[in-house]
C-alpha cells in the first residue's frame, strides 16, 4: 500500500521523517495511521516505538485523522502582538471547533503552531501548503468561505 512511497527512499533510518511526511501528505485525512507505522517499521527495519516517538515529537505529524484542510495558526509572539488570539477566536467561532478538532464535514482541522517565519505579515496562518498573512477577522471569514466554495 505504501510501496509507491517507499520506492522513492532508501531503507535507512535517516529517511524516516521524509517518509512520514510523504505518507501523511498522501493520506486524504492527512495523518499517519497505525498501519502506516507498521509498514514503515518493516520497510526501514526500525522498531515502532522509535517511529512513534518521532511522530509525537514533531509538530507537523499527526496520528489522528484530520480534515481536508489543516489550518495552522501561528501563536508565537510576533503574531500574538498582532492579535492572533482574535483570529483564533474567530476561527473557532466560524468553524465551531476547538484546538486540534476537525469540523463535522471533514473540511477543516484547527491547529496552533509556532512561528511560520512570515512575521512581516503577522498574524499568519497556513492552510495545507499555503500561507495567508495580514489576517483580519473579516479576511479569515472570507478565506474559509472561499475554501468551502471550492470544496
Amino acid at each position: 500500500m505504501y510501496q509507491e512511497i517507499f520506492k522513492k527512499y532508501e531503507p535507512t533510518k535517516d529517511n524516516l521523517i521524509y517518509i512520514l511526511h510523504d505518507i501523511q501528505d498522501n493520506h486524504p485525512q492527512q495523518y499517519i495511521t497505525e498501519e502506516a507505522v507498521l509498514s514503515v517499521s518493516k520497510y526501514l527495519n526500525v522498531p515502532i516505538n522509535h517511529i512513534y516517538g518521532v511522530i509525537t515529537f514533531y509538530g507537523m505529524f499527526s496520528m489522528k485523522a484530520r480534515g481536508k484542510n489543516i489550518i495552522r495558526l501561528c501563536e508565537s509572539p510576533p503574531c500574538y502582538l498582532k492579535g492572533c488570539d482574535n483570529i483564533y477566536r474567530k476561527l473557532k467561532e466560524e468553524l465551531n471547533i476547538k484546538q486540534n478538532e476537525t469540523t463535522e464535514d471533514g473540511l477543516f482541522t484547527l491547529e496552533l503552531c509556532a512561528c511560520l517565519g512570515v512575521c512581516g505579515n503577522a498574524p499568519v496562518m497556513m492552510i495545507n501548503n499555503d500561507i495567508y498573512g495580514d489576517l483580519t477577522e473579516e479576511k479569515v471569514v472570507k478565506i474559509i468561505k472561499d475554501i468551502k466554495g471550492e470544496k
Binding site: P47, N49, H50, Y52
Partner: protein
C-alpha cells in the same frame, strides 16, 4: 591507558582518560547526587541534579557526562549548587505523585532519598502534576506515569541493553513522557516482561504486578493446599534486605520464612533445575549424536523465550522443548505430587517465588495449563516475597533454619548455579559429559562460561564425540548478537558452529532478574552470582544426574529422560509472535512429532 589527574573538592584523584566527573568524584570519595545517572547505564544527562562547578566555566557542568581533563578543578558542593539542586528537585516533586507510604519503592526510591537529604518544604513546592491513568495491560509489569520522572533509564535499558524496543519517549515539552508505541500499553507491546526497567527505575513508576493478595488468600483458605517453589537465585537475594551481607546464601532461613507464612508444602525449584538438565541434556546429547549442525538453545528464561518468538521465530525450532524449571515443577505439583500425597489436584495452589517478572507471563501461557488451570497458579517476585516477610513480621535474620519437604526439593550444585549466567551451561556440560562418556568430568568447574561478560564462548572436548562449541549470552542485547550470527550461519550454510547455547534475558542471569530488589545493579549481581558458585563448590552432589530425588522420580514416575511421560509433562512448544504487539501469530514448533 592514559591517566588524568584532577582535584575534586581539593582531593587529588587520578583516573583513566574518558572517565566522567561523577565517576572520578566517587573515586575521590564524593557521591554527587543524581536522579538519572546509573553506573550500569550510559548517561542520559537529563536531570541536571549532578551539576558541579568546574573552574574556568561560567555555568556548572553535568558531572554524569562531562569527561575529566588534565588539571581540572571541580567543586561538587557550594551554596549555588545546593540552591540549583533544590530548585530542580522541587520541580520534580511538583510533577510527581508523592504517595510514599503506599509506594512499592518506599525506602528504596532514589527521589525520596534525595528529597529527604535536602530539606524540602513541600508547602513551597508548586503543583504541576496532571494525573494520568496507570497502565495495567501487562501480566508482569505495571507502569504508573504519575510517578515517572522521565529520567530515561527504562528506555535505555529496554532499547540499548535489552534491545526489546518496547519503551520510548513520546510527545514533547512538558507533555514528554515514557510510553509504548501508539500508547498501546506494555501488554500490547514488544515487551518480553524481563522487568529490567523495574529494577533500574529510580522511583516506583515501574513495578511488578503485585500478586501477594492472591497468595495470602490461598494461604488463609483452609480448603487449599498451597505448594511453593523458590528459584535458585532467591536464596542469594534475601539476606541483604535484613542486614546480612550482600549475596549471603540462606536456603534454610528461606524455607523457614515460607513455613512461617503458612505454606503447606515448601519444596524447591532447584530440584526441577536438575530435572531440566536431565531433559535438556538428553536432548542436547541426542542432537550431538545426530550431527545436525543445529544448536540446542536453552529455554529456562521466559523473557528470552518471548524474545526469540518475537524477533527470531525462525530459530524457535532450535530452542529446547524442555520446560523451564518453574513450569516442570508446576506440572509435577499438579500431577506427581497429588498422586503421591493422595490429594485432589484441584485443591492445590502452586506458587512460585521467582527473581523474574516474565515468569508471571510464563505462568499464564495457555500451553502450560491443564484443563484450563495453569500448572503454576501464582508467581511472586523476590520483591513481593520480601514484602510478605515484612508484612508477616518475620524476623528473617534470627529465624531458625528449616528443611524443605521431601520429594521435589533435593538439589545439587548444578541446580543452584542455574541462578547465574553460564550456570545452566555448566550444569548441562557436567551431565552431557556423563551421558556421552559414562564418566564424570574430572574438574566440574567450567570457568570459561562463568562471569558477567556479555557473550562467552568455550570449546569442550568430550571423548567419543569430539569438540563441543558452546556460547553463553546474558542480557537480550547480547543474545541478539549470538542469534544474528547463528541465523546468518544457518541461512548461508545450513548449519552453525554452535552445539549448545545458553541465553538468559537478564544481564547477570537470574540473580539480575527483573523481579529482584530495586537498585540491583551489576555489582550486586556479581556478588550474588559468586555466592551461588560458592554454594555449588561446597555441595556433596554437584551434578544433576547424581541427585537421588531425580533418580527416584524417574524410577517411580517419569521412566527416563525423554520418555513419553516426560514429554507429556516436561516439554512444551513455541510460537512465532507479532513483532509489534507480541501477540501469538502461529505455532512454530512441536507440530510434526515429539522428539
Amino acid at each position: 591507558m592514559k591517566m588524568i589527574n584532577l582535584t575534586i573538592n581539593n582531593v587529588p584523584v587520578e583516573v583513566p582518560e574518558g572517565t566522567t566527573l561523577i565517576q572520578a568524584a566517587l573515586k575521590a570519595g564524593f557521591k554527587v547526587p543524581s536522579l538519572c545517572w546509573h553506573p550500569d547505564l550510559a548517561p542520559t544527562a537529563a536531570c541536571g541534579i549532578c551539576v558541579c562547578d568546574v573552574e574556568g566555566y561560567p555555568v556548572p557542568k553535568r558531572a554524569c557526562a562531562t569527561p575529566v581533563t588534565e588539571g581540572m578543578k571541580v567543586n561538587t558542593n557550594s551554596r549555588e549548587l545546593r540552591e540549583l539542586r533544590k530548585t530542580i528537585l522541587e520541580l520534580v516533586l511538583a510533577n510527581h505523585d508523592v504517595k510514599c507510604p503506599t509506594c512499592v519503592a518506599n525506602g528504596k526510591c532514589e527521589l525520596q532519598q534525595l528529597a529527604y537529604t535536602m530539606d524540602i518544604d513541600m508547602e513551597k513546592v508548586p503543583k504541576l502534576l496532571e494525573m494520568k491513568p496507570i497502565d495495567y495491560s501487562s501480566p508482569s509489569i505495571v507502569r504508573d506515569t504519575n510517578k515517572c520522572i522521565n529520567c530515561g533509564r527504562c528506555i535505555t535499558v529496554c532499547n540499548d541493553i535489552q534491545t526489546v524496543y518496547a519503551l520510548t519517549f513520546a510527545d514533547r515539552g512538558f507533555e514528554a513522557h515514557v510510553d509504548t508505541a501508539m500508547s498501546w500499553g506494555i501488554g500490547n507491546s514488544a515487551c518480553v516482561n524481563c522487568g529490567q526497567c523495574t529494577v533500574y527505575c529510580p522511583t516506583g513508576a515501574l513495578r511488578e504486578k503485585d500478586d501477594t493478595d492472591k497468595v495470602w488468600d490461598a494461604l488463609l483458605d483452609p480448603t487449599k493446599h498451597v505448594v511453593v517453589q523458590e528459584a535458585p537465585s532467591i536464596r542469594a537475594s534475601l539476606g541483604d534486605e535484613f542486614g546480612m551481607d550482600m549475596g549471603t546464601v540462606t536456603p534454610g532461613k528461606m524455607y523457614a520464612a515460607l513455613r512461617a507464612l503458612g505454606f503447606d508444602s515448601v519444596m524447591d525449584t532447584n530440584f526441577t533445575a536438575d530435572l531440566t538438565i536431565m531433559e535438556e541434556g538428553t536432548e542436547c546429547v541426542e542432537n550431538l549424536k545426530k550431527h545436525t549442525g543445529k544448536p540446542v538453545i536453552t529455554s529456562c528464561s521466559p523473557g528470552w523465550v518471548k524474545f526469540v518468538e518475537t524477533y527470531y521465530p525462525d530459530l524457535t525450532p532450535y530452542v529446547s522443548t524442555a520446560k523451564s524449571p518453574m513450569s516442570m515443577f508446576g506440572a509435577l505439583s499438579k500431577t506427581y505430587y497429588p498422586e503421591v500425597h493422595g490429594l485432589d489436584p484441584k485443591d492445590i495452589v502452586s506458587v512460585a517465588i521467582m527473581p523474574c517478572t516474565a515468569k508471571k507471563f510464563e505462568a499464564q501461557r495457555p500451553e502450560l495449563a491443564r484443563d484450563g488451570v495453569p500448572d503454576t497458579d501464582i508467581v511472586l517476585t523476590t520483591r513481593e516475597f520480601l514484602r510478605m516477610i515484612h508484612e508477616a513480621g518475620i524476623d528473617f535474620q534470627n529465624i531458625k533454619e528449616a528443611k524443605p519437604d521431601e520429594g521435589m526439593s533435593f538439589y545439587t550444585g548444578a541446580g543452584t548455579i542455574f541462578g547465574a549466567t553460564g550456570g545452566v551451561m555448566e550444569a548441562a556440560i557436567r551431565s552431557a559429559y556423563f551421558l556421552v562418556t559414562g564418566q564424570d568430568l574430572e574438574n566440574p568447574n567450567i570457568e570459561a562460561v562463568r562471569g558477567l561478560k556479555g557473550v562467552k564462548e568455550a570449546v569442550i572436548t568430550i571423548p567419543g564425540f569430539g569438540d563441543v562449541k558452546v556460547a553463553v549470552a546474558n542480557g537480550l542485547g547480547n543474545a541478539r548478537k549470538v542469534m544474528d550470527k547463528i541465523q546468518q550461519q544457518i541461512n548461508e550454510t545450513g548449519s552453525t558452529e554452535y552445539h549448545f547455547v545458553e541465553i538468559m534475558a537478564c544481564p547477570g542471569g537470574c540473580v539480575g532478574g527483573g523481579g529482584q530488589p530495586f537498585g540491583n545493579g551489576i555489582a550486586q549481581r556479581a556478588r550474588r552470582g559468586e555466592a551461588l558458585y560458592k554454594e555449588d563448590a561446597n555441595m556433596d552432589f554437584r551434578c544433576s544426574h547424581h541427585n537421588p530425588e531425580i533418580t527416584k522420580i524417574y524410577a517411580d514416575y517419569l521412566e527416563k529422560p525423554g520418555s513419553h511421560k516426560a514429554h507429556e509433562l516436561l516439554h512444551t512448544y513455541y510460537f512465532g509472535r507479532d513483532k509489534f504487539k507480541g501477540q501469538v501469530e502461529k505455532q512454530t514448533t512441536g507440530l510434526d512429532s515429539h522428539h
